[in-house]
């Protein structure tokens, strides 16, 4: 069967969007299919994200806009999958595009229809906290910004069609069925949150002030119904004491909930508590939790900050009841404290941290796509490749395969894209078309001839701003040769008008005064480019979002403002010049640093796409730390897996393996790196050029000096125990084993959680019990962090008789040696002291990154490390495998502690990100970059300090001596360098000082 260079992505949340962007950037045609009417999924509903408290909308919306307008992405909303046939490489999917009753091509998203709709329906995006019209858009920044009629609520009164100036409402618009031919499919339908049943002990649905966490998220949101004020639904008061209850519908083996851990609730609850307090300082949050599972990068630090800086109180308890106090609508919570006392406390509001369910249509999707689900109805995935479903050619990413947070979702999305690359690499670029454009008209040196197009936007602008007056005014401004107005400047026919006008009036600058450049600038830039003008000879004046809409009651002042804005745009337009985007050639080869599992997975992926790959390993043997691991908790045979992997790597024609190697130097930048290494026993030298770098250097197991490790042979590490269990029968002679968790983790020196140790301990405990059912195993822990489906093994271990005792970090277990016997003394939560005789004391040692080892590489690559010496990615949430420095990516434990399958996913993700570069012969750099006037530069180096992208360095220039040099390939054009340049030597193309001054001054009377 012939392979097809197109990919279908089902579900356009953050995962689906990321996968689509990766693939589209790598030269595949992408069909992005979304069931709701806008993309962005749950992330768009969030206020802030942990652990950085980033504003969710700020970081997600540029990504969504990019997804919405990418020329290789064909986005369809309001869709349903009907039928799937074919196999890996060539699938045919029948998709039902349900009618929106509003013509997507005509709708300008102005929202008048929603405003005039007499029907009020429940606002689902705001979780029912507010009301919405039957004609609506999910949220104001939605992509695509088109309204849809919800036929369930619509009474067919016809008012929306009447008020729509764009004539976009079409009640006879019918559902449409299309067959899409794709080579691979990525499923990213996300999750649905657990909804507490009506009669529940938490009073949800009964008491108004009991809300779910996702509802609370909307309450927190600045764009939510309460505009970011934290108010309780019963009476709109600010709740002083807010209780957060963890594990609602999670880790629930008896009730209506799910047995697994939903992985993210501990963190989002901490975030919600922190943000609530940040929004309203009078709020005092209390979190009732079982184990606090802050296992991710920088998560534990966040919990500590929540407690110390924001006064969030943690109580380790599952509450026993909630009662409403009728007069006040407050809530009385009864709970048992750790030391067994029953307490009662009054709260003004209660937030239920609800867990993740598989998506409601999981079974439907599984049936249609012919994939298997796991025991919890999430997508079943390969044990070592968490994005591979049971059917070849179909991949899953994000919460569809297991509950996970945003960075893990984004990583998996890229990983899925990486796997698609492996499958379809030779069909890359076959289904995308490049537009042919006329040559650019040469305008340098010619006097500006400006055309101004002013948009009525139906009544959105024209209703409040006197558009004819502004048009007349614009005509009087210097260099303006044409001033015209349109009902909708963005409509297709107006684009033709603009093109004709450019020709007729010989325009060489075009201004559109209408909505916001954030959504519409690319459209108009494309138009003038088609008319032969350079894209940058365009300016936009925002007279709608920032003028007519916000000054509806002052039409005269709004008109004045619109005139000013147009004038400022004209002033700037007179100063703008064409900008040529720099093109850089790309060396289609990759360097992978580190030959552990992550590095090998990445190298193999590159190589199978026929990219020449250099794999550099410090040791004399590939495999890294995985060489010490025998099985995963879930039972995967690690040894067999890596043996096979090593064999493939070493025999692959496109992979060059360098062992016992050390990197001497890395030079260059994205697409054009040059690396020299010394390798092998004989210290040979090698040098090669490559386009991208993947950092997969891993980390080390902590070598404890506490708990008598190294002093007493009976004290061993988990990895040592694992080896013993797997290679001998020594366990059969033992009566009692004690394990201590968090050795070298979550302390002052290493404040993070090493993530794997809990699973490791339980894995070994279960194996020990299997081999010797009589052995008594006691695990001393702080929190058991068997997140996700690993919870099952925690329960299994308890059922197998493993004893779990919590200890206090401030009062750790004591080890006494009596008669060469180990005795472990530990204080329980109820303040009893227990003494356990132990044949082996097994320490769960954490994972350490060593600064000395990582620092050199970080410096060579100009990438940062975090406080814990792990590599720091570009953005914690949305760019988890990228570095701020382009062309460099991170995978595996070098980034932070993670499991084998997560490491493999990240490796594939890194490859996918890298392929967006390698797949192109040349890449276009941003045009609006910083420029340096070397004659003015004094070489002070201030700019270098301020550049977040390491785009600036000092060079010795033949004429000017030591001056700053800006690498155009790396510069993003933020302008931080320019703002601080004491000698005004740096300017930003597109935002030059001259241009901005022209806007500040040049006011005419």
């Amino acid at each position: 069967m012939e392979k097809v260079g197109a990919v279908m992505v089902v579900g356009a949340g953050i995962g689906g969007s990321q996968a689509s962007l990766d693939l589209a950037d790598s030269g595949y045609k992408v069909y992005l299919i979304e069931s709701t009417t806008s993309i962005g999924g749950v992330m768009a509903q969030l206020d802030k994200t942990f652990p950085t408290n980033d504003c969710a909308m700020c970081i997600v919306s540029p990504k969504l806009v990019e997804t919405g307008r990418h020329q290789n992405i064909d986005l369809s909303i309001n869709c349903k999958i009907q039928e799937v046939s074919g196999e890996a490489g060539n699938f045919t999917v029948k998709v039902l595009k349900k009618s929106l009753f509003i013509n997507q091509d005509k709708c300008t998203g102005c929202g008048v229809c929603g405003k005039e709709c007499p029907v009020e329906a429940i606002d689902i995006f705001n979780e029912g906290l507010a009301k919405y019209a039957a004609t609506s858009v999910r949220y104001p920044q939605a992509v695509p910004l088109v309204y849809a009629i919800n036929k369930d609520y619509c009474i067919g009164c016809g008012i929306c069609a009447g008020v729509c100036k764009a004539k976009a409402v079409e009640y006879d618009l019918e559902d449409e069925e299309v067959d899409l031919n794709v080579g691979a499919i990525i499923l990213s339908p996300g999750f649905d949150e657990y909804v507490p049943p009506k009669a529940n002990l938490y009073g949800y649905g009964k008491y108004k002030n009991v809300v779910t966490s996702i509802e609370f998220e909307r309450i927190l949101s600045a764009s939510g119904p309460y505009a970011g004020r934290v108010l309780r639904p019963s009476d709109g008061d600010v709740p002083e004491k807010v209780a957060f209850l963890q594990c609602i519908g999670s880790r629930d083996f008896s009730g209506s909930g799910n047995p697994y851990c939903s992985s993210v609730c501990c963190m989002y609850t901490a975030k919600e508590a922190v943000i609530a307090h940040e929004h309203m300082h009078q709020i005092k949050p209390t979190i009732f939790s079982m184990d606090v599972r802050a296992y991710g990068k920088d998560f534990d630090k966040y919990i500590i900050r929540a407690q110390e800086e924001y006064g969030v109180q943690y109580i380790r308890s599952r509450i026993s009841s909630i009662q409403e106090v009728p007069e006040t609508n407050d809530l009385r919570i009864r709970y048992e404290t750790e030391d067994g006392k029953v307490k009662e406390e009054i709260f003004q509001m209660v937030v239920l941290a609800v867990g993740f369910n598989p998506p409601n249509d999981a079974k439907y999707l599984a049936e249609k796509f012919g994939i298997e689900l796991n025991e919890y109805n999430f997508a079943k995935t390969d044990i070592f490749n968490p994005v591979q479903t049971s059917k070849p050619g179909i991949f899953a990413c994000g919460a569809f395969s297991s509950p996970k947070d945003i960075p893990d979702t984004v990583t998996q999305a890229s990983a899925a894209a990486g796997c698609v690359n492996q499958l379809l690499y030779d069909e890359k670029g076959t289904l995308i078309t490049e537009k042919s454009l006329p040559p650019e008209i040469f305008v340098n040196g010619q006097p500006p001839r400006i055309g101004v197009f002013i948009c009525h936007c139906g009544i959105n602008i024209g209703g409040f701003v006197d558009v004819p007056e502004v048009t007349r005014y614009a005509k009087t401004l210097p260099n303006v040769v044409l001033s015209d107005r349109n009902l909708y400047t963005c409509s297709a026919d107006t684009q033709t008008i603009i093109k004709n006008m450019v020709k007729e009036y010989h325009l060489n600058r075009v201004i559109v005064a209408s909505c916001t450049p954030r959504t519409h600038e690319p459209l108009f830039q494309e138009t003038i480019r088609e008319a032969g003008l350079n894209r940058y000879l365009f300016q936009m004046a925002n007279i709608r979002d920032q003028c007519s809409w916000v000054h509806m009651n002052e039409p005269e002042a709004a008109t004045e403002k619109a005139k000013d804005l147009v004038r400022m745009a004209v002033n700037k337009a007179r100063k703008i010049q064409p900008i040529d985007r720099i093109k850089l050639s790309v060396t289609p080869k990759a360097l992978v640093v580190g030959g552990g599992i992550s590095g090998m997975a990445a190298a193999l992926n590159f190589a199978s796409q026929e990219y020449e790959t250099y794999l550099v390993e410090k040791q004399d043997k590939l495999g890294g730390f995985a060489n010490n691991i025998y099985h995963t908790l879930e039972g995967g045979d690690v040894q067999a897996f890596i043996t096979d992997l090593i064999k493939k790597i070493e025999s692959h024609e496109f992979i060059h393996v360098y062992k016992e190697a050390e990197i001497e130097n890395i030079d260059g930048y994205i697409g054009n790196f040059k690396t020299s290494i010394i390798y092998g026993k004989n210290k040979e030298k090698a040098e090669f050029e490559h386009g991208v770098v993947i950092v997969a250097t891993g980390a080390k197991e902590y070598q404890p000096n506490e708990y008598l490790y190294g002093q007493n042979d009976l004290v061993i590490l988990q990895s040592e125990l694992e080896k013993i269990l797997n290679t001998s029968d020594d366990i059969k002679k033992k009566k009692s084993i004690v394990m201590i968790q968090c050795v070298g983790s979550r302390n002052d020196e290493h404040p993070y959680c090493s993530k794997m140790c809990c699973a490791e301990a339980i894995k070994n405990a279960l194996l020990a019990k299997e081999k010797n059912p009589d052995v008594e195993i006691t695990v001393l822990f702080r929190d058991i962090r068997t997140y996700g489906f690993k919870e099952k093994y925690y329960r299994k271990a308890r059922e197998a008789g493993v004893i779990f005792i919590q200890y206090d970090e401030n009062d750790p277990p004591k080890i006494n040696v009596e008669d060469s016997e180990l005795r472990v003394e530990v204080k329980t939560a109820r303040h009893d002291t227990i003494n356990i005789k132990s044949d082996w004391l097994v320490l769960s040692a954490g994972i350490y990154a060593i600064r000395e080892e990582n620092e050199d590489l970080a410096k060579m690559l100009k990438v940062p490390l975090n406080d814990d010496n792990f590599f720091l990615e570009a953005h914690v949430k949305l760019r988890p495998v990228d570095f701020a420095t382009e062309g460099v990516f991170v995978a595996g434990i070098a980034h932070c502690p993670k499991t084998i399958e997560d490491s493999i996913a990240q490796a594939n993700a890194a490859v996918s990100r890298a392929c967006t570069i390698l797949s192109k012969e040349e890449i276009e750099a941003e045009g609006k970059t910083a420029q340096i006037d070397m004659s003015r530069c004094i070489g002070c180096g201030m700019c270098i300090e301020n550049c977040a992208y390491n785009a600036i360095e000092l060079i010795d220039d033949r004429r000017f001596g030591r001056v700053a040099y800006i690498n155009q390939a790396l510069c993003k054009g933020c302008g931080a360098c320019s703002g601080n340049c004491r000698c005004a030597a740096i300017d930003i193309l597109g935002f030059t000082g001259e241009q901005i001054f022209s806007m500040i001054t040049g006011r005419v009377s």
Partner: protein
């Protein structure tokens, strides 16, 4: 002296006004309590006319039009019926719904005109003076009626009642007929909501108040007040002002 009701009548030009004239020509005697405003069609009678009249303390308002099917303007009286029903529903919130009445009187029904007017006078007399009568209007009630008056002017209610007949009796834009009960349910909800919202706006006319204050003042569920407040905020009619202690105050814009 017995109470003499002060009544107002809206008569359509073609049937009821002619009927009233016929009563005169035939010297039919009926009580002189009602003053007449001539309109071309009963469909012209805006709900606001009736509410405004009651707000001014008039004891009763009569709307008369041609019999169904006889309308000089074909369908005007069907529309009148819908608007009247809505007005009645709105007024039922304050128990004034029995002070308005709709009847069909043809040009030939002079006798009947006299009869129905007499009956109306009697009925209103039995009800007693309007609680809003000029001498001593019930201020609380007056506020509520003002809210009703404002509600009748909201575009949401006007849009619903304006389209009600066509989409329940003929077809909506999808060529479907919306069942009468379904529509009424929707309309009833809208009536109550808009009434409550206008009351909130009125209560905020002078100074800003909290949700709880408003709930007590208007005897509404605080959660409902909050919900309305959000809708009004969406319509740019109210806004948050400040938070006193833990209680946010809302103001009218």
């Amino acid at each position: 002296m017995s109470f003499e009701p002060k009544l107002l009548g809206f008569l359509c030009n073609w049937c009821s006004y002619a009927g009233a004239d016929l009563a005169g020509v035939s010297r039919i005697q009926y009580p002189p309590n009602m003053r007449v405003i001539r309109v071309m069609c009963s469909g012209r009678v805006d709900p606001k006319f009736l509410i405004q009249a009651l707000e001014l303390g008039i004891d009763g308002v009569y709307v008369m039009g041609c019999h169904i099917g006889d309308c000089h303007y074909l369908e005007g009286n069907y529309e009148a019926l819908r608007k009247f029903d809505m007005t009645k529903k709105l007024l039922s919130f304050v128990g004034l719904d029995n002070r308005i009445r709709l009847d069909w009187v043809s040009a030939s029904e002079g006798v009947r005109f006299g009869e129905v007017v007499s009956k109306f006078v009697e009925d209103i007399r039995a009800l007693g003076p309007s609680p809003l009568s000029r001498d001593n209007p019930d201020q609380e009630l007056l506020k509520k009626v003002k809210a009703i008056n404002m509600a009748a002017g909201t575009k949401r209610l006007r849009a619903l009642v304006g389209r009600q007949r066509k989409i329940t009796e003929e077809e909506n834009v999808y060529g479907e007929k919306v069942p009468e009960e379904e529509f009424n349910e929707l309309l009833d909800t809208a009536l109550k909501e808009e009434y409550d919202r206008q009351r909130i706006l009125l209560a905020l006319a002078r100074d800003s108040k909290s949700v709880k204050d408003l709930a007590v003042e208007l005897s509404l569920e605080p959660s409902l007040v909050l919900e309305h407040m959000l809708t009004l905020k969406g319509r740019s009619q109210v806004d948050f002002q400040e938070i006193i202690g833990n209680t946010p105050l809302f103001m009218r814009i």
